[in-house]
Symmetry: C2
Subunit: 137 residues, 2 copies
């Protein structure tokens, strides 16, 4: 059965694909350019609903607002400490590696792992070689 989307949901989904792991506020600012009457609450509500539906991922960063990812398949994220950009892992990082970690965690905590939140931080390739910063992307 085809999933029925509200008008704004469609717009939000489309904007999400154009921006790079935006926050709700960033989605709001972008959507507002073409639909000035939209409200931040509507953006939050639709993003939250779509995340619950498994249509997108909600990402939890320490000391920062949540971000949203239109790619709902299981993958993880690495953030560059210099330029702030966020990079997706591909499907190779889950798979057996995640299974091994889950096993190790279960072995020493007793918790049968069902899901995980993981954020990696470091320095991206461009910043390693070019000395880039948040300012000179």
């Amino acid at each position: 059965m085809a999933r029925r989307h509200s008008a704004q949901k469609g717009i939000i989904g489309e904007v999400l694909a154009r921006l790079d792991h935006p926050t709700a506020a960033e989605v709001y600012e972008e959507v507002r350019k073409n639909f000035p009457q939209i409200s931040l609450g509507t953006v939050y509500r639709n993003l939250s609903l779509m995340a619950e539906n498994g249509e997108l991922l909600r990402l939890y960063f320490p000391e920062a607002p949540d971000r949203f990812d239109p790619n709902a398949y299981e993958h993880y994220h690495a953030v560059c400490l210099r330029c702030g950009r966020i990079f997706d892992t591909d499907r190779t990082v889950p798979g057996e590696l995640i299974g091994k970690i889950d096993q190790a965690v279960e072995a020493c905590t007793g918790v049968r792992v069902e899901s995980r939140v993981m954020i990696f931080s470091g320095v991206c390739k461009a910043c390693q070689s070019g000395g880039r910063t948040q300012e000179n992307l």
Copy 2:
């Protein structure tokens, strides 16, 4: 050189060791029993300072207030979805397993990983066998 602690810092550290991964508010309530004049701001300030000093860990849970762990060595956490308890991994989970994940992440994102935030969720042993809930710990 011996690290000089303020009075409250000592009290906070001591309370932290007795409670199980408490939030700042929980530390505050506990400390208040013996030092009723302490303020929540002081608790936050000291916990934050101690975390910056590497004397304790600040833990970031999705959709929940931060928690604090007096064990500052590198380890990770698993939370039980039924009873809410938080379990520590021991030192075996870092080590080579973390190194492998870091490598895999670097391979597909280009980010040289320096640190990570990881929270595992699932069902703990007691809840698996006893059908325990948050209510009947």
